[in-house]
Amino acid sequence: MARRAFIAGMLLAACTALPAQAERLVVSLSNHRVAVTSNFTGADLVLFGTIEPDRPRGALRNAYDLVVTVKGPPHRLRTRRKDRVLGIWVNVESREFINVPSYLGVLSNRPVPAIANPEIARRLQLGLKNVILTQRVGADFADTVPDDAFRVAFIKLETQYGLYRESPDAVTFLTPTVFRVAIPIPANAPTGSYSIDVQLFAEGASVARTNSALEVVKTGFEQYVADAARDHGLLYGLFASLMALVIGWIGSVVFRRD
């Protein structure tokens, strides 16, 4: 009781003495580098953080909400829709999604609509529904309404692949001011640098924001093979077919019957 009174007192003091009450986020990632090796089947990174007053003896509020948005390196995708043409199913219409994240994780301590009202959620791009996904529609580049069929299908497919996800239980508050975020990196996560945007909310309003980054790299043999295939296609192809011939030859020698 004494503590609550103290906090209330501090709050009151903060409201009157300070121009605005403010918090600071301090976060630390368990690992900044995810290495994709030959037996990589996905990884879970942990982001720890605390909420601190931005000046000594500053005030803190009772309840906070946290939304963490993790974005993978941007890329360009085409979403196609099949339609029935002469009895068979054919890709007819397609839309290109430009500069969209290859991985998108929206992690929070409770569902986004419960944290912020739709207006704020849209402005701050909270949740899969509100993240801007630019499409090329004819000559224009724009995001469409959230319930556009191609946009919905795009998010649904990416979610099925495990690349887009919205987890309203990935953020755990260990104490009212110390939190832990589980960031799942699936096996098919594209390589490159990922940005982590951490936004703190209190009573539906954004109160603090910070960011961090992580990198997914292919290491060792995988990286070597992927690089070779991309940068030295011809040489790689010659090597691949030579490999086929050598194994074919070994097969004929080992299993020779005459």
Binding site: H75, R78, G233
Partner: protein, 307 residues
């Protein structure tokens, strides 16, 4: 145990892929075919994109046909000049196929063309094979001679100009059908990820009257060279050949083929052809089913590039 495929960009169970290589290798050894028409659909089925599957299977077929070609070479069952003639246009066909493959992928219609071609080719060839082996079976039951078609009879093919003599096969044919066959096999193989042995062998027998002694060995040489060059071309233009995937498939395939060959030798020719025909037909129907039935998911995504 999972292994990450660097080009297909997904982890697969190494034993599953090895098992598929063994199984397809067994079938290919048993029937004396490359097995690409089974391998490519299987890879698509486990989630590898059709483009990567087609490109990677080419090296798998190159390996298994090389093993076969060496065996036939030792038995002196390869008609080198005929193989060279087929190859001269086969490589051209492969290059055209890889070019069309790239174009179709750009237009988002590659999967459709692969599907439609599989349906047409496999159901037609499968039906022909079933029909022929059933007829042969019935004829032997009735005690009639096994072949009704006289090997010496002439077709329109024999009226064409630019005739050449192939000594080992003891045939005298025009260069035009030889080139046409080589080109079409190279072309089909590059687009569909099949060696084309199951098409080439009947073509060589029916159109060119190549005798059974040299037909399989010669067809394997064509398959070997067109598939090895398709691997190089797919790698150089589309960067889609997954060497790790190919390696696992090849190892499984080469081993499986040896056991398949032993099993195949114990079976009768007609029975073997009937089985192969049924298998080919079934795979064709499977593709037809996929094209006609409404897919669960109408939308699909393709990576165009990174920004």
């Amino acid at each position: 145990m999972h292994i990450y495929l660097p080009i297909a960009d997904l982890p697969v169970n190494i034993f599953l892929v090895l098992g598929m290589g063994l199984a397809v290798g067994f079938i290919s050894g048993m029937f004396g075919i490359g097995g690409g028409f089974l391998m490519t659909p299987l890879l698509i089925f486990i989630g590898i994109s059709p483009a990567v599957a087609v490109a990677s299977v080419t090296s798998h077929i190159a390996a298994s046909s090389f093993t076969g070609a060496i065996n036939y070479w030792r038995k002196r069952a390869i008609d080198i000049p005929l193989a060279m003639m087929l190859l001269s246009s086969g490589i051209l066909g492969t290059a055209t196929g890889v070019w069309l493959f790239t174009l179709l992928r750009e237009l988002d219609q590659l999967d459709l063309v692969i599907g439609l071609s599989y349906v047409t080719l496999l159901t037609t060839v499968g039906a022909l094979m079933i029909n022929e082996s059933v007829q042969a079976e019935l004829r032997t039951r009735r005690g009639k001679p096994a072949t009704l078609r006289r090997p010496g009879s002439h077709t329109f093919v024999h009226g064409l100009p630019f005739k050449l003599r192939f000594k080992r096969s003891k045939i005298y044919v025009s260069a035009i059908p030889v080139w046409a066959i080589g080109f079409s096999i190279g072309f089909i193989g590059a687009i569909l990820g099949i060696g084309g042995g199951f098409l080439l062998v009947p073509m060589l027998i029916y159109f060119l009257r190549v005798p059974t002694a040299t037909v399989i060995g010669t067809s394997m040489v064509l398959t070997l060279v067109t598939m090895a060059s398709a691997t190089v071309m797919h790698a150089a233009t589309n960067h889609l050949v997954d060497a790790v995937l190919a390696l696992i498939l090849i190892v499984g395939g080469v081993i499986g083929a040896q056991f398949g060959a032993r099993t195949g030798q114990k079976m009768r020719g007609e029975r073997l052809r009937l089985l192969l025909g049924l298998l080919v037909f079934a795979v064709g129907l499977r593709f037809a089913y996929e094209l006609v039935v409404q897919p669960d998911e109408l939308y699909s995504i393709r990576l165009v590039g990174s920004e």
